[in-house]
């Protein structure tokens, strides 16, 4: 029983893709650019001409399911296939999913993709099937990251590193105006 969340020290990202490979290997995600539980996205671009570049408008952003506390995908699913598990992670009853794709359309973060192997819509579940189920409080992306920019842990535990980081630093969430209340935080 925990309330898992993740915080990103996003400016440290060098876009090395280690997190993406680790995730695919850990969770057996099919190859192919469209199949992924997480991805790094270039936000903004380098402007100006070569001898006078403005590099400050570009960042590498860690993108994945934002673990909304008010999850649009859960509300949208006509089959009731989406639920919140004991660790407050948005999960899927795989056998109830019949690929209506309503969740994909509802997700403002485009966090889901179609898992053609299992005929479901898949997304990041914080390695719940692998690491968390073995009792490890880590995710594959977090543990491998050279920048150590991914803080993962129990938001309800005041002593957890993520709670401390969120207390000490300012952060933002994505598309906060939608009221989805994400549990993924981007540290400034």
């Amino acid at each position: 029983m925990a309330n898992y969340g993740m915080a990103f020290d996003y400016k440290l990202c060098i876009n090395c893709h280690a997190c993406e490979v680790a995730c695919k290997e850990e969770n057996g995600i099919d190859l192919g650019a469209k199949n992924h539980r997480l991805w790094i996205q270039e936000d903004g671009k380098v402007e100006g001409d070569f001898w006078n570049l403005d590099r400050n408008k570009m960042n590498f952003m860690q993108m994945q399911c934002q673990e909304c506390q008010d999850a649009p995908c859960l509300k949208a699913c006509p089959n009731g296939a989406i639920y919140i598990d004991n660790n407050r992670i948005v999960r899927l009853y795989k056998e109830r999913c019949d690929l209506t794709l309503a969740c994909m359309k509802a997700c403002p973060y485009e966090a889901r993709y179609i898992d053609e192997k299992n005929h479901i819509t898949d997304k990041c579940i914080f390695c719940a099937d692998t690491r968390l189920s073995r009792g490890e409080v880590t995710t594959a992306c977090q543990i491998t990251c050279p920048s150590k920019l991914r803080y993962f842990g129990d938001l309800d535990d005041k002593e957890s590193e993520i709670s401390i980081v969120l207390k000490e630093r300012t952060y933002f969430t994505l598309k906060s105006e939608l009221g989805t209340k994400p549990k993924l935080f981007y540290l400034e």
């Binding site: 060098i14 490979v21 190859l31 402007e47 590099r55 485009e110 543990i143 150590k148």
Partner: protein, 766 residues
């Protein structure tokens, strides 16, 4: 509030819809016991040169996942994308599985499966004939090995035991100028303490896309000011505090100006210079005489003079400044003196044998096992360093070697090549010449894990197992925070692949007596020895048993060696944690899985060492070269309007051509494309993904364009590691283009290193 457009990675070319996950589709069958076994085995990565440490999660003898190893100071508890994708190297469907014997013409890819004994028998028959015809001159066999563990063991076999002088490695197509420049200037190759530096200048090296541990990781976690000079705005440049775009090949002008300003304005560390510099007066006079002012450097580099002055002042007033010496170096003819200038800048700031500088440190020394080396009177010396001032006696000069062989200028013919972990058909400029060289051989044997372009030129292909399928001899790492690390075997070798030691053991057994017979025929000293001591004694005592080193397997040898020199506890640490260092039980987590290894006061920042900083190298003067770093007008970056300078680099997801077929890594970058300045592309009506032809004086390639503002107008950049010609690499074949088809084969004469960034290119839209 922040808005991020969340469009998916649609910008990646094409989805790979039909590809299936490599490990789950892997069909290697194994009897499953009723209960699954779960193991976590420490290993050392081999996806690139770094040797990061990891733990392999193994379930029922199948590697399910690779994770970082928190105990290793060098890799700092991380695995990069390549390290994570090591599983796909192990289970690559295209791997070499059995010994193969060529049945078609060289290069046409037709082979038949043979047994190990048949392969060794074939090699023996060919070698006996060659060495007999060459009257026991063992140097007629050339042998090569790229970067990696086991190289020294391989040298012991073909060099010490078989007796050839002609060993070649990656040094002359990689970093020998940098190693040589540091060695000759400071008397040691040293190590750069990136973690301790508070001001770091990186010129051309790209530590965030070509990861070197611990340097790259230390850059992320240290708070130093980072200055990057590059003709391309790489990710390293993107992340720098200051990015100084410059003309390619003009870094030396920047360095000379830094030296000039530091001397002229007395910014250098006078106490250090007084105590350690040799011939400083010569350097001072030389630099001032040439007037390498910031204004002068601006005219060469395109970096504003004010900026050069500012950086120089900041560098020399920093507590622990470091001018990064690079790794893969050798871009141009001036490379040796460029690296020397970098070393001298560090030394002028007193950043030697001190925190944040070039440190000497204190590495663990592992004693070598003794072997009995035969002496062959007829074995001739190497010839590839003729005309080279210094050169590496160990790994030689590839381009000089190849040139002499194909032009029949070598003092004796090279008739056979043994090639291991070295894709020579892709890794050096002007591939057509390498092909020509291999076609001249009577016997080409390739040891590899993959059917590389080079393997396709072999007469005999010997399938070696991957790094996850073998134990290697214990290795000592690093100087500031030294450690020992051991590559443990994770799973048994797949198919009929074997470790190099096992391959050489069987080959050695097969070759020992027949090759001894040839020496007996030609070597009078050996004949005398037999008269005196008898045949059997001369064979054994003379060291002619080629398999001697491999009598015991690596695991037993490690145990004996580590027990003897370091003791049982350290051996146990290496077997269970993969690593040992004196503070391994006191490691402290600083934050979020990032650890401190050696306590700061225990790191070897400064050691007791007598040394001098050599400003002036008289040997160079004697051979007609600059004894000190000097600019010459032919170093100027000047091109005709319609031509471009080609520079090369790496994507973070590929390591040269070794990872080219890796299905996971190809998922991120399937092919390379050529970076071209956006405005220039506009003028030429070249749009993204247009096919363009790049032509140099030697060849042409076709490649898709990537117009961007992140590259200088007269420069083209493309990543190495693509454009493979082996159809057996089914993921890689036909994807992207090979840089070395068009890079002209020139080498500098100080170390005989290939100068990779001197080729001018014309382009045409297809």
């Amino acid at each position: 509030m922040k808005r991020i457009e969340t469009s998916r990675r649609k910008f990646l070319q094409g989805s790979v819809a039909l590809c299936v996950y490599a490990t789950s589709s892997f069909s290697f069958t194994k009897q499953k016991s009723s209960r699954s076994t779960f193991e976590n085995i420490p290993y050392l990565c081999n996806m690139c040169r770094n040797k990061c440490a990891g733990f392999a999660q193994v379930i029922d003898n199948k590697v399910e996942k690779l994770n970082p190893n928190k105990y290793f100071p060098k890799s700092r508890n991380m695995l990069c994308p390549k390290g994570n994708a090591g599983i796909d190297a192990l289970y690559d469907k295209d791997r070499l599985k059995y010994p193969l014997l060529r049945i078609g013409k060289r290069g046409d890819g037709r082979y038949k499966r043979v047994t190990w004994d048949e392969a060794n028998e074939y090699i023996k028959d060919k070698l006996v004939k060659i060495i007999d015809e060459e009257k026991d001159n063992r140097s007629t066999i050339a042998y090569c090995n790229g970067e990696g563990f086991n190289k020294d063991e391989y040298i012991k076999f073909f060099g010490s035991k078989v007796g050839s002088s002609n060993f070649l490695d990656e040094g002359s197509i990689c970093l020998n100028t940098k190693l040589g420049a540091t060695q000759l200037t400071l008397g040691d190759i040293g190590e750069m303490d990136v973690s301790g530096s508070d001001y770091l200048i990186i010129s051309g090296a790209n530590r965030y896309e070509s990861l070197i541990t611990p340097d790259s990781v230390d850059m992320i976690h240290s708070k130093q000011k980072l200055i990057v000079l590059d003709p391309r705005c790489s990710v390293t440049a993107l992340k720098a505090d200051e990015y100084l775009p410059l003309n390619p090949g003009t870094d030396l002008a920047f360095c000379l100006s830094m030296i000039y300003i530091s001397i002229k304005e007395k910014l250098y560390n006078e106490k250090y210079v007084k105590n350690y510099f040799k011939d400083f007066d010569k350097l001072e006079k030389h630099i001032l005489k040439h007037n390498y002012t910031a204004k002068w450097a601006e005219s060469k580099t395109h970096i504003p003079s004010k900026k050069i002055e500012q950086i120089t002042k900041e560098f020399f007033s920093a507590q622990n400044p470091l001018y990064y010496l690079g790794r893969r170096s050798v871009w141009a003819q001036n490379d040796f003196q460029l690296r020397r200038a970098m070393v001298l800048i560090n030394a002028l700031a007193g950043s030697v044998n001190k925190k944040g500088g070039i440190i000497f440190g204190q590495p663990f020394i592992i004693q070598d096992e003794e072997i009995n080396e035969p002496f062959y009177n007829a074995s001739a010396g190497r010839f590839d360093l003729d005309g080279i001032v210094y050169g590496s006696q160990k790994g030689g000069s590839w381009l000089n070697f190849r040139e002499k062989v194909i032009n029949k200028m070598s003092p004796y013919p090279i008739r056979s090549m043994f090639i291991r972990k070295h894709n020579i058909m892709q890794n050096m400029p002007n591939i057509s010449k390498t092909k020509k060289m291999l076609n001249m051989m009577d016997l080409v044997v390739v040891f590899d894990t993959m059917p590389s372009d080079t393997a396709m030129m072999a007469d005999v292909i010997l399938p070696e197992c991957t790094y996850l399928e073998r134990e290697d001899m214990v290795v000592s790492f690093n100087r500031l925070e030294p450690s020992l690390a051991l590559r443990n075997k994770v799973v048994e070798p797949l198919y009929e692949s074997k470790s190099m030691q096992d391959i050489l053991k069987d080959l050695g057994k097969k070759l020992s007596k027949p090759l001894f017979e040839i020496s007996l025929k030609y070597d009078e000293d050996l004949q005398d020895s037999i008269k005196e001591f008898g045949l059997e004694n001369s064979f054994i005592d003379g060291g002619y048993d080629l398999a001697e080193l491999y009598k015991n397997n690596v695991s037993m040898r490690n145990k004996k060696l580590i027990f003897k020199q370091f003791g049982e506890d350290i051996y146990n640490s290496l077997k269970t944690k993969g690593v040992w260092h004196p503070y391994i039980d006191q490691e402290k987590e600083l934050y979020n899985n990032y650890y401190e290894y050696y306590p700061k006061e225990k790191r070897y920042y400064t050691v007791d060492r007598k040394y001098k900083v050599n400003c002036y190298l008289s040997k160079l003067k004697k051979y007609g070269f600059d004894p000190m770093p000097t600019w010459h007008s032919n170093y100027d970056f000047s091109l005709t309007d319609d031509s471009f300078r080609l520079i090369t680099g790496r994507y973070i997801t590929s390591t040269q051509t070794a990872s080219t077929n890796n299905s996971m890594l190809r998922d991120f970058k399937e092919q390379n494309n050529v970076w071209i300045n956006d405005k220039v592309a506009d003028k030429l009506n070249i749009k993204e993904d247009d096919y363009i032809v790049l032509s140099s004086s030697i060849n042409s390639i076709v490649i898709q364009a990537y117009p961007t503002n992140k590259i200088a107008p007269q420069v083209l950049w493309l990543a190495h590691g693509f454009g493979t010609s082996s159809e057996e690499l089914t993921n890689a074949y036909g994807k992207g283009a090979s840089d070395n088809l068009i890079i002209e084969d020139r080498f500098e004469k100080i170390y005989g290193c290939a100068t990779m960034h001197e080729t001018n290119i014309t382009i045409r839209k297809l």
